[in-house]
Amino acid sequence: MYQVEEFLNPGVLAAVLIFLIPIILFPIILLLGKKFEKFRRYSGILATSGIFISFLLSYYLYSLNESFYYQNGWFYNFTWGVFVDPLSIAMAMMVSGVSFLIHMFAIGYMGKDPNRHVYFAETSLFTGGMLGLVLSSNMVMFFLFWELVGLCSYLLIGFWWFKPNAASAAKKAFIVTRVGDVLLILGLAVLYWSLLPVIKTGDPLSIYNILKYANIVPKDQLALAGALVLGGAAGKSAQFPLHVWIPDAMEGPTTVSALIHAATMVTAGIYLVARIYPVYLYAAPWAGYLVLYVGAFTAFLAGTMGLVMNDIKRILAYSTISQLGYMLSALGLGIVASQYTISISIYHLIVHAFLKALLFLTAGAILYSLLDIRDIRKMGGLWKRMPITITAMLIGALTLVGFPPTAGYFSKDEIISLSYYFSEQNPGIYYAWILLLIGAFLTTLYTFRMFFIVALGKPKSYAAENAKDPPWVMLAPIVILSILSLIYGIFQEGFYKYIGNFEFTLPLYIEILPFILVLFGIYIAWLFYGSSRFSAQNFARKSGFAYRIVKAKYYLDYLYTNIIADRLIVYLSYVVALFDRYIVDGFVNGIGKSFNYLASITRRLQTGIVQNYATFVIIGLIVFLILGKIMGVI
């Protein structure tokens, strides 16, 4: 199925160049921008064109229409190389394409920032890292790129480092994803030791070997490895309970939120689970249920929190978490039912990348013309003032809730239908279906709450009154993404065939159930926020207790910061610090001190008096003479 290729093969070279070009652009843009003040205005164009080349190369890989991999020795028994199959090509095309459009938008959005060369250098490095991640042939190489994109995420969230919120959000994102990364590396270690005895020679962490030999590894070891790897995926893809960093990450520039925290980096966790899908498929069943219910529960939980946010970017952030939950549960469904359902998950991933990039870019356009007001209560009446932007936002919102005939209808409802289809054979999945269904309803509710408050009514601030559409360089990506969100549904069948098909049919009333809930959700949102029939404030006051809990994000932030971090980790780190100070440092310093002490004794021999040296010489001579006499040499 997969053929091995030489390095000097057009496909392999293209695959390597796809991620090398943006990475090489990083130092070039950074240094040129630092050296020449005038270069900075061209940095965006350079980065955008570099990523466009990556996109063309990805298209070239797609046009080759074959699966292959290239591996070369790296260190120990690990290899490096590229692994190209429909899954990675689809991801590479999505990442480079969406990244290209967002970079284009950023030329306008970041156009006035004095440090824009740093911004474009970092986003370029990020894009290269993400492309390397999807194309790498080895889990160690994958992990390196995984950390690289994590680093870029940290740098870009804190791009406006002088804002205290941004600095602390960057730290939070880094630390929370680090928890996931520790789990991931433990999972990889378990995978390594469980595959090593099976394959005997070669690289146990090569993706090819993982896919090929996963079925003969003991089920319990696979389940343990899978659960730990899922922890890493949950950290990166913001799944419960490690989802807390994404809403804070919205402190970065909006283009960063669109690129990293909506379209590409957060999907790396989904891609990870899809990439080593056989590990879960052949594992003990509990790993599959874990994947399914982490995803489904996150889809539901993030929806409830999205309902009460007032920051436009945070609403979108919770919606991202929720949609990532859908993707993960689509994978989990397939695992529990022992079917190959990657195509359904990845199709939603790609549709979501388009629609969420679209929504974030429209949010960016709104922020651009409203001078960084992010509170939706200060917007309103924008449809008249920014017609193109808000129409695009409507398209994005309809796609997000899965309104036919947008692409979201074909991707998200498919996942909900799939969960019902599998729950007929396996009642354990039934609750996931309910969670996903409620999640879809909540998605509609918060999306249209946001849309009605932003688009309709009267402007509630001076900036909102004077808003207007942004320049064409920012509108063009928005228009392209809205067209993609609208028409991408027609590629559904072709996409499923490309990645690996899985077909099923359901009775009509189940198929249209999510759509009915969507209509119902839009109607309720209209009652509350579009017209003045009901007052949301009154409703919030009446349901005080539940509202408070959701508003406080289920006290998870409180739990992590005030209880786990302050009560537990701080004391633990005291102990660790003592260990470091007295045992590790003591060992290192002890070596130095012992040599020092030894020297303080032995250097007494060096008296400086020449006669003493002469005495030693003569004593030595006499000793040698006596020894020579005894041994009969002289």
Partner: protein, 100 residues
């Protein structure tokens, strides 16, 4: 003619005195004297053997050695003069800079 062994004994005694001298004396001049005694014990040894085997090249060699000993004594005195200028004394204690 004096038997060889007597001369060699005197030479050995001179060598021992000289060796004891360079290992123990505290003053610079005494050190130079001890070195002279050492050199001359060696010279005496060579001359005794040269006479014993009736070969004059040993005697010529000793003449050379005496000249070198004179030069060496001159250098020694020069070092001590320089030392005196620095430390107002030529005790060997003042030459203890070469240590830890």
């Amino acid at each position: 003619m004096i038997p060889l062994i007597y001369v060699l004994t005197v030479s050995l005694m001179m060598f021992t005195v000289g060796l004891y001298g360079i290992l123990t004396v505290k003053g610079g001049i005494r050190l130079l004297i001890s070195i002279e005694i050492l050199v001359n014990s060696a010279n005496l040894n060579i001359v005794a053997w040269a006479v014993n085997i009736a070969d004059s090249s040993g005697i010529m060699f000793v003449l050379l050695s005496i000249a070198i000993a004179a030069a060496e004594a001159a250098i020694g005195f020069a070092i001590f003069v320089a030392l005196y200028r620095q430390t107002k004394g030529i005790g060997l204690k003042s030459l203890m800079d070469l240590r830890w």
